[in-house]
C-alpha cells in the first residue's frame, strides 16, 4: 500500500516535533526513518499509525485521507520498542489477539484462529513455545512474538518503532536479516524507526534522515551515504573528520596542498573562493604516494580493535588554523598501510572520498556555498 504524507506538523507544548513534513512511501518498500533522538522520527511513525494526530497535514493510504479512520480500523501492524506483549497471555493468545477481537461476522472459527497463531509462531521460529508466557522468553524472542502478533491481522503496513533498540548487538543483527527476508517474502510496505545508521543502511531500500522535525535528506542508501546533503547528515551516517580548507581557483587546498579533484558533476559554478570545511570519514584516509597531493600528519597513537586499526594523527604543519587539531584514521587490520603507522611517524594522507560544505565556524563566503557539494572522489580520479 502506498502512503502519502503531506504538510505534517506536530507540536508538543513549546516543542516543535514535526514541521511541514511531506513524504511518499511506495508500495512494498522497506523505508527507514533515521535520526537522532528528538528529531521527530517516532512521532512521524505514530502519526502514520494513527497513534497521534497531526496538528496540520494529512495522511493518505492509497490516496484515501485517513483523518477520520481511527488506529484500530487502519489495519496496521505496529511493533513497539519494548514489545508491549500482553504479559498475562500465552504466546498463542498474544498472537491470536488481533483475530479474536474481531466482530463475530468477521471472526474465523476458534480452531482456525489457533492454527493461524501456531503457524505464525512457527514463522518466527518459536514453534513449540505456544503455551509459554512472555516473561519466559529472551528479548529477541519477545520481539519476534510481537512481530508475529502484528502480522496476524494481515496488515497493510508494518510499522516498527526502534524494534531492535533494546536487544544486544548479535541478536539485533540476526533479527535485521530476518526482517529483511520476511519483507521479501510478504512484500508488506514496511516503515521502521531507528537511530542506528548501520541498521538503516543495512535494512532499508530508502532512508529518510530526520533532523529537528524536518526531513534532512531522503534517498537510497547509496545516495544518502555518498552524497550527504548537509554536514549533519554526513556526521550522522558515520564518523567524520572535519578539516578547515580553502577553495582557490576551483581547487580545495589544505594549507599548501591541493587535495581537491572534482568530478564533472560537481556544481562548481556557485563557488568562488574562500574558506570551506572538508568532511572525510576516518576509513576514507590512506597513505599517499610521495608525489601525490595530501595532508602531512604526525601519528599520535595507534589502537588495534580486532578487524580495524584506529590511528589518531595531528597536522604536521600548524601554519593554518584548524578547529580540530587531530584526525582519526581507520584501516582494515591487514591493509598494507598499517605497518607504516608508527607512533611519531610523519605521513602524507590522501583523501579517497570527501564532502565539502560551507564552514560552520566562519560565515560562508557566499550564500550558495551552504548548498552542499561532494567534490572529491578517489575512484573517479584514478579512473580519469
Amino acid at each position: 500500500m502506498e502512503i502519502q504524507l503531506s504538510g505534517i506538523s506536530k507540536q508538543f507544548g513549546q516543542f516543535k516535533a514535526l514541521n511541514n513534513v511531506g513524504l511518499n512511501i511506495q508500495s512494498g518498500e522497506l523505508l527507514a526513518l533515521l535520526g537522532p533522538s528528538g528529531s521527530g522520527k517516532t512521532t512521524l511513525l505514530r502519526i502514520i499509525a494513527g497513534l497521534e494526530n497531526a496538528d496540520i497535514g494529512s495522511v493518505y493510504f492509497d490516496g484515501v485521507d485517513m483523518a477520520n479512520t481511527p488506529l484500530r480500523e487502519r489495519q496496521i501492524g505496529f511493533v513497539f520498542q519494548h514489545y508491549a506483549l500482553f504479559k498475562h497471555m500465552t504466546l498463542r493468545e498474544n498472537v491470536s489477539f488481533g483475530l479474536r477481537v474481531k466482530t463475530r461476522a468477521f471472526r474465523r472459527p476458534a480452531a482456525a484462529i489457533r492454527a493461524r497463531a501456531d503457524e505464525l509462531l512457527k514463522l518466527v521460529q518459536l514453534g513449540g513455545l505456544e503455551d509459554r508466557y512472555p516473561h519466559q522468553l529472551s528479548g529477541g524472542q519477545r520481539q519476534r512474538v510481537a512481530l508475529a502478533r502484528a502480522l496476524a491481522i494481515d496488515p497493510k503496513v508494518l510499522l516498527l518503532d526502534e524494534p531492535f533498540g533494546a536487544l544486544d548487538a548479535k541478536v539485533r543483527k540476526e533479527l535485521r536479516q530476518w526482517l529483511r527476508d520476511l519483507h521479501q517474502q510478504t512484500g508488506v510496505t514496511t516503515v521502521f524507526v531507528t537511530h542506528d545508521q548501520e541498521e538503516a543502511l543495512e535494512l532499508a531500500d530508502r532512508v529518510v534522515i530526520m533532523q529537528k522535525g524536518e526531513i534532512a535528506q531522503l534517498g537510497s542508501v547509496d545516495q544518502v551515504y555518498e552524497q550527504p546533503a548537509s554536514p549533519l547528515v554526513f556526521d550522522f551516517l558515520g564518523d567524520s573528520n572535519i578539516i578547515a580548507a580553502q577553495w582557490r581557483g576551483d581547487v580545495v587546498h589544505v594549507g599548501d596542498s591541493a587535495i581537491g579533484a572534482y568530478p564533472s558533476t560537481a556544481n562548481t559554478a556557485v563557488l568562488d573562493e574562500g574558506a570551506v570545511d572538508v568532511y572525510v570519514r576516518p576509513s576514507d584516509l590512506r597513505i599517499a604516494d610521495a608525489e601525490q597531493a595530501g595532508i602531512d600528519v604526525v601519528v599520535n597513537s595507534i589502537q588495534r580493535t580486532g578487524p580495524i586499526v584506529r590511528a589518531e594523527v595531528s597536522f604536521a604543519h600548524s601554519t593554518f588554523a584548524q578547529s580540530h587539531s587531530t584526525l582519526r584514521v581507520e584501516l582494515p587490520h591487514l591493509h598494507h598501510d598499517v605497518p607504516r603507522f608508527q607512533t611519531g611517524a610523519t605521513l602524507r594522507l590522501r583523501l579517497m572520498q570527501f564532502s565539502v560544505f560551507a564552514p560552520q565556524t566562519i560565515t560562508p563566503v557566499r550564500e550558495q556555498l551552504s548548498a552542499p557539494i561532494l567534490i572529491g572522489r578517489e575512484r573517479e580520479r584514478l579512473a580519469g
Partner: protein
C-alpha cells in the same frame, strides 16, 4: 520452604530474625492468646456460645456487609483510581487528599456524620425516605459506613499499578483492532486484577472489624443491624469474657479462611508470573537468521 543462605546479598539472618520476632510480638502472640482463652472453653461450650441466634446473625451481618462494601469499593475505587491516573483536572490534588481522609478521621466522627446525614431527618436520609428506602439503622447504613472507610484501600492499591501500566499495551491492542471495551476487558483489567484484589481484601478485612463508624448509623438492633464487633463489646460490658472470646475467635477464623481464599484468587490472577519459576529464556529451537 527453602532457606536461601547462599544469597550474595548480606543480612538474611538478622532480617529474618527481626521479621519473626516482630510478627510474633505484634501479631501471633496476641492472637494466640485469644485462641488459648477460647480453648479453655472446650469445643461444646464454644459451639454453644457462637451458635446462638443473636451471634450468628451478628456474624452474618458483619461479613455480608463487609463483603458488599468491599465489592462496591472495588468497582468505584477502580473508577476513581482510573480518573486520578488518566485525567488531569483542576482540584485533582485536593480530591487526592480527600480520598485519604477516611484513613485519618476518627471512625466515630465518621459514624456520627453519616448517621446525621442518612437518618430519617437528615439531608440524604430524607430523600431516600421519600422513595421508601430506610438507610439509617438498617444493614444498608452499615454498608454505607463500611464503604466510606474502605474506599482508600482500593484506590491506593490500584493507583500505582495503573500508573505503571504501559501505555503501549493499550496502543498495541488498539492497533490489533480491539475496541475500547475489549482493550479494557482483555488487557487492562487482567493487569490490574491482582492489585484490585489486594485492595478488596484490605477493604474487606477493615470492614469486618469496623466498630466506631458502624455503631452510630447501624442502630444496633439485635438480629437486624447488630455487628459482631459490637456484640463482643456488649458481652465484655456484661463481664461475659468467654462469650466475647468465642465470638472473636469465630470472626478470626472466618476472616482467616476468607483472606486465604482471596490470596489464592490473587495468585491465580498472576499465574503467568510464576508458571515455571524460571525467568530465563525458553530454549530456542535454533534461530536461523
Amino acid at each position: 520452604m527453602k532457606f536461601k543462605t547462599n544469597s550474595p546479598l548480606p543480612g538474611f539472618a538478622p532480617a529474618l530474625f527481626y521479621t519473626v520476632l516482630y510478627l510474633a510480638l505484634i501479631v501471633v502472640i496476641p492472637l494466640s492468646g485469644l485462641f488459648f482463652k477460647t480453648a479453655e472453653l472446650g469445643l461444646a461450650q464454644f459451639w454453644d456460645l457462637i451458635s446462638g441466634e443473636r451471634v450468628t446473625h451478628a456474624l452474618m451481618i458483619s461479613f455480608a456487609t463487609a463483603l458488599a462494601a468491599a465489592m462496591i469499593n472495588a468497582v468505584f475505587g477502580l473508577i476513581i483510581a482510573w480518573v486520578f491516573v488518566r485525567y488531569d483536572f483542576t482540584g485533582k490534588g485536593l480530591f487526592d487528599a480527600i480520598i485519604d481522609l477516611p484513613f485519618a478521621l476518627p471512625t466515630a466522627v465518621a459514624g456520627i456524620a453519616l448517621s446525621t446525614l442518612y437518618s430519617g431527618s437528615g439531608w440524604l436520609g430524607n430523600l431516600f425516605n421519600k422513595v421508601g428506602i430506610e438507610i439509617a439503622f438498617t444493614p444498608i447504613g452499615i454498608v454505607i459506613a463500611l464503604t466510606f472507610i474502605g474506599l482508600p484501600f482500593v484506590v491506593r492499591s490500584v493507583e500505582p499499578v495503573l500508573r505503571e501500566l504501559e501505555k503501549e499495551l493499550e496502543e498495541a491492542a488498539a492497533s490489533l483492532g480491539a475496541n475500547r471495551w475489549q482493550t479494557l476487558y482483555h488487557v487492562v483489567f487482567p493487569t490490574l486484577l491482582p492489585a484490585l484484589l489486594s485492595g478488596f481484601a484490605l477493604a474487606f478485612a477493615r470492614g469486618v472489624g469496623e466498630y466506631g463508624s458502624v455503631i452510630f448509623i447501624a442502630g444496633n438492633v439485635p438480629y437486624v443491624s447488630e455487628v459482631a464487633p459490637l456484640l463482643i463489646v456488649i458481652k465484655l460490658e456484661e463481664y461475659d469474657y468467654a462469650g466475647a472470646t468465642a465470638v472473636a475467635a469465630a470472626m478470626l477464623l472466618i476472616s482467616f479462611v476468607l483472606l486465604i481464599l482471596i490470596n489464592a484468587l490473587q495468585a491465580w490472577s498472576q499465574r503467568y508470573k510464576a508458571s515455571s519459576g524460571n525467568v530465563n529464556a525458553a530454549p530456542d529451537k535454533g534461530f536461523v537468521a
